[in-house]
Subunit: 623 residues, 2 copies
Amino acid sequence: MSPKITTELLKHLRQVMKNPRYVQEPVQAYIVPSGDAHQSEYIAPCDCRRAFISGFDGSAGTAIVTEQHAAMWTDGRYFLQAAHQMDSNWTLMKMGLKDTPTQEDWLVSVLPEGSRVGVDPFIIPADQWKRMSKVLRSAGHDLVPVKENLIDTIWTDCPQRPCKPLITLDLSYTGVTWRDKIVALRSKMAERKVMWFVVTALDEVAWLFNLRGSDVEYNPVFFAYSVIGMNTIRLFIDGDRMMDPAVREHLQLDSTLEPEFKIQVLPYGSILSELQAVGAGLSPKEKVWLSDKASYALTEAIPKAYRYLTPYTPICIAKAVKNAAETEGMRRAHIKDAVALCELFNWLEKEVPKGTVTEIVAADKAEEFRSQQKDFVELSFATISSTGPNGAIIHYKPVPETNRTLSANEIYLLDSGAQYKDGTTDVTRTMHFGTPSAYEKECFTYVLKGHIAVSAAIFPNGTKGHLLDSFARSALWDCGLDYLHGTGHGVGSFLNVHEGPCGISYKTFADEPLEAGMIVSDEPGYYEDGSFGIRIENVVLVIPAETKYNFKNRGSLTFEPLTLVPIQTKMIDVNLLTEKERNWVNEYHQKCREVVGAELERQGRHEALRWLLRETEPLARVQ
Amino acid sequence: MSPKITTELLKHLRQVMKNPRYVQEPVQAYIVPSGDAHQSEYIAPCDCRRAFISGFDGSAGTAIVTEQHAAMWTDGRYFLQAAHQMDSNWTLMKMGLKDTPTQEDWLVSVLPEGSRVGVDPFIIPADQWKRMSKVLRSAGHDLVPVKENLIDTIWTDCPQRPCKPLITLDLSYTGVTWRDKIVALRSKMAERKVMWFVVTALDEVAWLFNLRGSDVEYNPVFFAYSVIGMNTIRLFIDGDRMMDPAVREHLQLDSTLEPEFKIQVLPYGSILSELQAVGAGLSPKEKVWLSDKASYALTEAIPKAYRYLTPYTPICIAKAVKNAAETEGMRRAHIKDAVALCELFNWLEKEVPKGTVTEIVAADKAEEFRSQQKDFVELSFATISSTGPNGAIIHYKPVPETNRTLSANEIYLLDSGAQYKDGTTDVTRTMHFGTPSAYEKECFTYVLKGHIAVSAAIFPNGTKGHLLDSFARSALWDCGLDYLHGTGHGVGSFLNVHEGPCGISYKTFADEPLEAGMIVSDEPGYYEDGSFGIRIENVVLVIPAETKYNFKNRGSLTFEPLTLVPIQTKMIDVNLLTEKERNWVNEYHQKCREVVGAELERQGRHEALRWLLRETEPLARVQ
C-alpha cells in the first residue's frame, strides 16, 4: 500500500474553498465526512469523497482541510491503514486517545478569528451540525452550509451515482403490502399528531415500498427519498426505473387508485425544493416527522417550530419486527446458507492440507457455494476470511498484501453472509483443520459459553438488548478475558445486514426494547493480537418464552437460532461446559442435522451431508 | 389518614403570587419542588414546603399552583398515599401513566397567554430549569426566579433551619486530612483548567472538611456551602458552630497557615452574593466548576461562558473510592451491626411466637441493639420492618395504621442500617419464624442466586455497574419473575446511605465505572403484591480479583461482602443451587462465624453467639 499523493488535490480544493462560483464568501475550513445524503453505513463509490481527497478508504473517518492543514479523524480500527494510505500532507487524529482533540476543538485551535467552516449540508446529520455549530459559534466562528459539494467540483473522474434496476417483492416475501405499510405509518403519524413523514434512510424507503435495488454494494437499496402526507405519497427517484412495467404494476402507478395511495414520482434531486414547499405551506400545529439523523439540509427545510424529530423513525421500528412471511423467508435463507457452508467446510477440510487455499480462495469458494443457492442475490458484506494472526484483526478483509494460506496449524475464522431474495444471513464460525492447543480450546469454549448464555437467555418482554451483553462476557470475565466489540446487531430481511433500532452491546446507545419478531446477531469473540481470533456468530430470532410463572403478566422472551451451521466440536473443551450448555450444543446440532440435513439430502449434496452428520455427533458427558 | 385542608393556604399562596412585596410582576403559576437548596435526597423539616402546602409528605413530588388549579406530580410508589393526604383542591398527576401530562405540558394547557411561572431559584436544579424554561418559552410563557420562597412567606410556624453541633473526624476515621483533600481537589481543578470549584451537595462539604453534622435526619450532614479557589477556601456556615474549640482546632482557624489553606468562614446566606462577586471578577478563560445539578440561582451567578458543569463533581468521585482507613472503618461498623442483628434475630425467634412483636416493636428493638454498639450515632434511614403483605410494599415504613404483628405464618423482611462514627450500614434479611412454603423457598432461592451472581461476579476494571444488573435477575427471569427496582446503590462512609456516582441498575443513568475501594449495595428481591416480599441485601466492597489471564493488562474486580449477617438457610431450597452457589453460602457463613462470632464472644453475647453458630451450619450437598 503506497499513500495517495494529494498535494495537487488539496491545492485545488483550497482554491475552490475561495472560489465565489461555489461559495458566497471564502471558507477557511472544509469538512469532508464519510457518509452519503442518507447517512448510510455502506456507501456508493460516488459518495467516497473522503477517500478521494485523502486516500484513506476505511469505513469511518472525517477529513477537515484548512488553508494550512489537512487532518483525518478515525478510530482504532483504522490507525494503521490510514497512516499507510495518506501522504505527509495529512495529520492523523487518533480518536479515542486522550490527547486527540475533537474536530471542533482542533478547528478552534487552528483557525484565524471569525472563520467560516464549510460543509455539505446534505452529508452532515442535523444532530452533528447542531453540536459542531454550537462550539464553533461560541469561539467566534461560523459553520456554513456549502450547497455544491466542493469535492465533487474537483473530482473530475467521479463515478456516476448508480441507478440500477429495481426488484419488486410480492406478498409472499414481505407479508404486508406497501399500501398497508402506508396505512400503518399514517396511523403512527396520527398518534403523534404529525401531518408529514420524511423517509431519508435508504433501507426505510426500500422496506416501505417493498422494493429492492443494488445501488450500494451488499445493501439491496436504491437512491430515493419519500415524503408521506396524510393524503399524498411522493417518491423521489431517478432514472428510467419507474418505466419498468413490473415496478409500475407493483406501485399501481397506472391504476385508478384512491388519491391517498396515488404515488407521485419526482426526480431524486427535487427533494429539497419539494420539502421546502411543504415547509412553507404548513399551518400552525402541522408537524413534520424526521429522523434526528436526517441531513441538515432536509431538516432545515422545515421551520424549527414544525419539526418532530426522533432518534428512531416508526419505519425503523416497524421494519425491525419481522412478520411471519419475513421470518419464514429468513429461515429459508439461513437453511440455504447453511448448505453452502457445509459444502465449504467439507471442501476446506480436503483442500487445506494441500497448502493451496488462501484466505481469498476460501472467501471466493464460500461465495461460489452460496451463489448456487436459490434466490441468491449477492453477499451481505465483505467476507472476513482470516487465519492465524489475521483473525485477531476484528474488521479484517483479505487483500493480496495480507493474504495468508490456511493450514493445519492455525485457527481459521470466517465471518460471512449473503443476500437472498427471501432473507439476509450473517454467520461466523471458527475452526481448526489440525489439532487445536488446550489454550485455544479453552478460549473457544469461553466464547461458546457466552454465545449460549445469550442465545438461551430468558428475559422479560421490553428488555433492552444492552442488558444482555454481560451474559456473553461472563465466562470470559471469570478468567480475566474479554472482547472489545458489541455482542450483536439487528439484521434486515433481505435488507441491510446491520440495522437499528435494537442490538446487544455494552454501549447503552438508546436501543429499543426487544420484542418477538426482532432479529439480531449473537457474536461474542476473543482475540489475541498477533496470534488468533475466535468468534461464534448466529443470527437469532426473538420469540416468546414459556416460563413457570409470569410476573405482572409481562410475558417473557428468548432467542431461536436461525443460523444452523455446526459449531466445531473439536474446538470445545467439554470439561468447561455445564450440563445445560452441553445439552444446548447437542440440541442445536440435532436441529442442524434435521433441518439442514434434509435440505442437503434434497439437493443431493451427499458428501456435505456426511460432513454435517459427523460434525453434529453429540458431545459426550465428561466426568 | 385524613387529608390536609388546604383551601385557606392556597388562597393565601395565590395572594402572595400577586403581591408586589414578593414578586416584581404577578406570577400565574408557582412551582413547589421537593428538594432543598442542596438537591438533597433527605431534607430537613423546614424544607418540607411541598408537604406543607399540599399535605402530601412522600419523598418525591412536585406541586404546581395556578390561579385556578393545584396539581401534584408523584410516582407509582405514592399514588395511594398522595390521594389520601391531599384534599379536593388538588389534582393528582400520576407520573409514569400514559395520559399524565408533564408539568410543562400541563402548564402550557392551563395557563393564559404570556404567563409567568415562578419558582425558587435555589430549589430548582439548573438542568431542570433549562428543560422547563425551554418548553415554556416556546409556548410563549416565562419561567421566572422568585427570590423569596413564597411558601416560606405563608408558613407562619415554619420550623427553624437546624444548626446542630459538628463532629470532627480525625485521620484514623478519614485516612486523609482535609488539607490533602483540598490539594487533590485543586490538582483536579488544574487538570480541567478551572480556577474555582463550588461545593453545593451537603455530603460533599462534610466529606471535604472531615466534619459531620446532624441537621438532616439519618444523614450526618450540616447546612453549608464551600467555594474553593486555587488560593482560597470559603466555608459558608451558620450558627456558633465555628466557636467550638474542637472545630476551630480541626480546621486550624486560629493557626498560622499558608494563605491557600486559610479557611474564610462566611454566613450560609451569603453564598449567592459571594459567588456573584467571584463571577463578576473572572478574567477570560477562568472557569468555575459546578455540578450540573446545582441550583439555578448559584449556576446563574456565574456567567455562562465561565461555567464548567459536570454531572459528577471530583469530590463525588473521590468520595466514592474509600481509602484504607475508611474501608477498615466500614468493616468495623458492619461487624458491630452484625452483632446487633444477631441479637435481634435471636430475640425475635423467642418473642415472635408470643404474638406481641409488631413491625414497630421489631424496628425499635433493632435500633436498641444497634445503639448498644460503640460509636453508634443514629439510624442511616427509616427502618423497613414489614411482615406478610407489607413486605411487598418496597418503600414500606411501619406506622400505627399499618403496623402488623409478626407471626410464624408470614415472611418477615427487615431492611435497616445505622450510622456509626466509623461507617454506614444498610442490610436486608428476609426470614420465616415458622415453616416457609415450597413456593416461598423457591422465590427466596432465586433471589439468593441473583445476590450471589452479583457478589461473586468477576469483571474488568472500568466496568459500569449497570452491566452487572442482569446477573442479579437471571435466575428470576428464567422462571418469568423479576423485581421493579435497581440492584444496588453507592454507600457513604459515615455519610449518606445513598450516594453517587456508582450503582447497579438496569437504568443506564451515567454511572461512573466501578473501581477498587468503591462500596455499593447488592440487593435483589422479589415481591408478590398482597402476599410477601423478599430481599437479600449486603453492602459490598469492590476489590481487585485474581484471574487466570489478564486481557490487555486491564485487571479485574470483584466484590467482598462487608455485611456479615447470616442468610436464613431455612428459606433456601438447596436443590436449586449450583455447587458453586452452595459453596458461596457456606464460605460466607463461615466468615460470619469467624468474624462476627469473635466479636459476640468479646462482647460476652453468648446467646446470640449460639444463634449465629446454629444459623451458619453449612448447607449439605443434595443429590
